[in-house]
Amino acid sequence: MRVPNSPVMDSPDPAACSGPGGPCCGTVGKPTMSDYIDRGLRRARSATLPIVGDARHDAGRFARFSLRVERGVITGVAFDASVCGTLVAYCEVAAESVTGLTIPAAARRMRSLDLTSALPLVPAYKRDLALLASQALITTIVQATRETRV
């Protein structure tokens, strides 16, 4: 929606903030926590994919991922998780991080991925949810390794 005279629309040089799709409204930038929550909630409503990992539980919350793998490449990631904004955001970051990678590359990516650094706004007492999300995805990648092994 266009908002007349808004600071964003009146940006003197909209091209200066162009994203991958070209010049934009001036709001392109690093995704916010809310962006990850919104995308995560949409992904969490999507159908479970063929390779389903074990659910991981911690402190009354759970996360479970599923993957679609085609010719060794992860082409789809879905998850089901407790509706907690922080956990959903961590799961979404993890899901986006491995989409399009081969299974070994995804495993390497998850070993090096620091979800807490990806979402620095999360208070310290909620950062353990990053571990829950990453462990849930790693078990699913391990499951994918088993199921796709020839």
């Binding site: 916010t32 926590m33 809310s34 929550i37 509706v83 907690c84 955001a89 706004l121 208070p123 909620k126």
Partner: protein
């Protein structure tokens, strides 16, 4: 009687009802009920951010009386204040709120 307040609307809920009614009464020990918790939605969460003058008073009286203060987590993330709240003030969603209140359950929850 124990009560918990949920600040859900965004008219003068914080600047008037909280700051000019509830908070002064709590500070003067004449509110008439034991407040065990307050939960803040949407723009009301700004009162929990460090530096907010109403929040400073609220935080002080909450510490003194053991009142739980909590902000809606998604509301705080959306406003990018989740890491800027007063010390010891958590963010959470309904399960977190009920969990935090479970040891000191209110008789009434009042939505403002």
């Amino acid at each position: 009687m124990k009560v918990a307040y949920i600040f859900a609307t965004q008219r003068h809920t914080v600047s008037y009802v909280l700051a000019k009614m509830i908070l002064p009464q709590l500070e003067q020990d004449r509110h008439g009920a034991d407040v065990v918790g307050m939960f803040f939605f949407e723009d009301n969460t700004y009162v929990l951010a460090k530096g907010n003058p109403i929040g400073e008073r609220l935080h002080a009286v909450a510490k003194k009386k053991g009142i739980l203060l909590m902000g809606c987590d998604q509301c705080c993330y959306e406003r990018e204040i989740a890491d800027k709240l007063f010390d010891g003030v958590p963010i959470g969603c309904f399960p977190d709120l009920y969990g935090a209140l479970s040891g000191n359950m209110p008789d009434h929850i009042i939505t403002l």
